[in-house]
C-alpha cells in the first residue's frame, strides 16, 4: 500500500470502528517508515473529529462513538511510546475521573477519547474517585486541567467537595477545573465554582483548549 492508501484506510477503518484493521494499518505504516505523528495527525485524529461531527449532527450515537474510540485507542497504544520518543508536545495534560459514589463512565470515556484525539495527554483515574485521590493525583501528575464527571443528581454535589479539597490542599489555583455529565448545567458548574463546563465530548475539547489558551495568555510562561 502507498502511504496515502494507508492514511485513507486508517481514516476509513477508524470511522467504522474496525479495531483489528486499524492496528494492522498502523503497523503497516510504521513498517513503511511513516512517522507516528503522520499516522496520528493525518488520519486518526481527522477520523475521530469526523466521528465527533457525526455525533453532533445526530448521524452517530454512543455505540458508534465508543467503537471508533476503541479502534483509535488500539492504535494509540502502539503509537503512544513512539510519539513520546519524538518529543511531540501535547496540547495539555488532562486528569479525569468520575466522582465518588458514581460508577458511570461512558460519557467520561467518550470525552477521554476526544481529548486524546485532539492531542491532550489524558490520565484517567476511573470511577468512584474520592476527593483525596484527586488531590494526590494532581500533586503527582501536575495536570493543566482536572475534570470531574457525574451522571447522577445525587453525586453532583461531589464537584463542590472535590473543589473544597483542592482549596484545602492549596491546589485550586494550580489547575483548571472542568465539570460535566448528563445532569450538569452551566449554572450548576458556576454555582460550585468550576472554571468550565461542556455539554458533550466535542464541546469539552473546544472548551478545554479555550480555557488553556486563556490561562496561558494570562500567565506568561
Amino acid at each position: 500500500m502507498t502511504p496515502q492508501e494507508i492514511l485513507q484506510g486508517l481514516y476509513d477503518e477508524t470511522l467504522v470502528g474496525n479495531a483489528p484493521r486499524v492496528l494492522e494499518l498502523t503497523e503497516e505504516g510504521l513498517s513503511n517508515a511513516m512517522e507516528p505523528q503522520t499516522l496520528l495527525f493525518d488520519a486518526l485524529i481527522p477520523s475521530l473529529e469526523e466521528v465527533g461531527a457525526r455525533f453532533e449532527r445526530g448521524d452517530f450515537f454512543v455505540p458508534e462513538m465508543l467503537i471508533a474510540g476503541r479502534a483509535m485507542a488500539g492504535a494509540m497504544e502502539r503509537l503512544r511510546p513512539l510519539l513520546a520518543e519524538t518529543g511531540v508536545a501535547t496540547v495539555g495534560k488532562f486528569l479525569m475521573g468520575t466522582v465518588k459514589g458514581d460508577v458511570h463512565d461512558i460519557g467520561k470515556n467518550l470525552v477521554n477519547i476526544m481529548l486524546e484525539g485532539a492531542g491532550f495527554e489524558v490520565i484517567d483515574l476511573g470511577v468512584q474517585v474520592a476527593p483525596e485521590k484527586f488531590v494526590a493525583a494532581i500533586e503527582e501528575h501536575q495536570p493543566d486541567i482536572v475534570g470531574f464527571s457525574a451522571f447522577l443528581t445525587t453525586t453532583m454535589p461531589m464537584f463542590k467537595a472535590n473543589i473544597n479539597a483542592l482549596e484545602k490542599a492549596g491546589l485550586r489555583n494550580e489547575v483548571v477545573v472542568m465539570v460535566g455529565g448528563a445532569p450538569v448545567t452551566q449554572e450548576y458548574a458556576d454555582a460550585v465554582g468550576a472554571d468550565g463546563y461542556a455539554a458533550d465530548a466535542s464541546a469539552c475539547v473546544k472548551r478545554a483548549k479555550a480555557l488553556l489558551d486563556a490561562r496561558r495568555t494570562k500567565v506568561p510562561a
Binding site: P63, L66, I67, R70, I106, V127, Q128, T153, T154, P183
Partner: protein, 214 residues
C-alpha cells in the same frame, strides 16, 4: 376512600381518539403505558392513555419537547392533560414544560421511583452503586431497548464499556411470571451480572396515578 379520582363516566385505556371535554388525557411513556392503561381500565377512570415512544429514553433531551407537542395537540379535546413521566433524565426540562402548560406529572426521577419508591431505589444505589435496574418492560424488550440500542448486537465487545463497573441487575418485577423470570435471567446472563428480583407489583404506580388524576 374513593376509588375514582374523577367521575368514572366510562372505562378505556386505549389510545384511540375519542375526544370529550369530560375526559382526561394521560401522556405516558411507552415503557409504562400498558400498566397505566390496565389500571385505568380496571378502575374505570375516564382517562385515555396516549403513549410516547419508549425509546425516547435513550435521547431524554427530546422527551420534554415531545410531551409539549402532544399536550398542545390534546388540550383542545380533553378537560385535562396529565403527564405519565417522572423526570426521566430530562433534568428539569420536563418540569419546565409542565410549568409552562400547567400540567402535573408523576413523582420521582425515574419510573423506578414510581414502582419501588424513591427511598428504596436510593438504598439500592447506596448498597451497590453499580446497580443496573430493569422493569418488566425492559425485561420483555431487552434485545431491542437495551442490546440493540447500545450496539451490543453489533459490537458485543462494548459490554465492558457499558457494564464493566456494574455489579448486579435488580429487576423491579411488576407482574412476574415464568416467562418474564426466564427473560430476566437471560438478560442478566447476557450482560454477565447476577440478578436480584424485587417484586414491586403495580400498587405504587396505581397510587401515583390516582394522585396525579385527583
Amino acid at each position: 376512600m374513593s376509588s375514582s379520582p374523577t367521575a368514572p363516566t366510562s372505562t378505556t385505556g386505549s389510545s384511540t381518539s375519542s375526544p370529550s371535554e369530560e375526559r382526561t388525557a394521560l401522556i405516558a411513556c411507552g415503557a409504562i403505558a400498558q400498566p397505566c392503561a390496565t389500571i385505568v381500565a380496571r378502575r374505570g377512570w375516564p382517562v385515555e392513555v396516549h403513549p410516547l415512544p419508549p425509546l425516547l429514553h435513550n435521547q431524554p433531551q427530546e422527551i420534554a419537547g415531545e410531551v409539549r407537542a402532544l399536550a398542545r395537540r390534546l388540550r383542545p379535546s380533553y378537560a385535562r392533560v396529565v403527564v405519565g413521566y417522572a423526570d426521566c433524565g430530562t433534568y428539569g426540562a420536563l418540569d419546565a414544560v409542565c410549568d409552562e402548560l400547567g400540567l402535573a406529572r408523576l413523582p420521582g426521577l425515574h419510573c423506578y421511583d414510581v414502582y419501588a419508591g424513591a427511598d428504596r431505589i436510593e438504598r439500592f444505589f447506596e448498597d451497590q452503586p453499580g446497580t443496573y435496574l430493569l422493569t418488566d418492560f425492559l425485561v420483555r424488550s431487552f434485545a431491542r431497548t437495551v442490546e440493540r440500542e447500545l450496539g451490543l448486537d453489533r459490537w458485543p465487545e462494548l459490554r465492558e464499556d457499558y457494564f464493566g463497573h456494574y455489579t448486579r441487575v435488580v429487576w423491579l418485577a411488576q407482574e412476574p411470571d415464568d416467562e418474564l423470570r426466564r427473560l430476566a435471567a437471560a438478560a442478566s446472563d447476557r450482560i454477565g451480572l447476577p440478578l436480584t428480583v424485587v417484586e414491586t407489583g403495580n400498587a405504587r404506580l396505581e397510587s401515583a396515578l390516582e394522585a396525579l388524576l385527583r
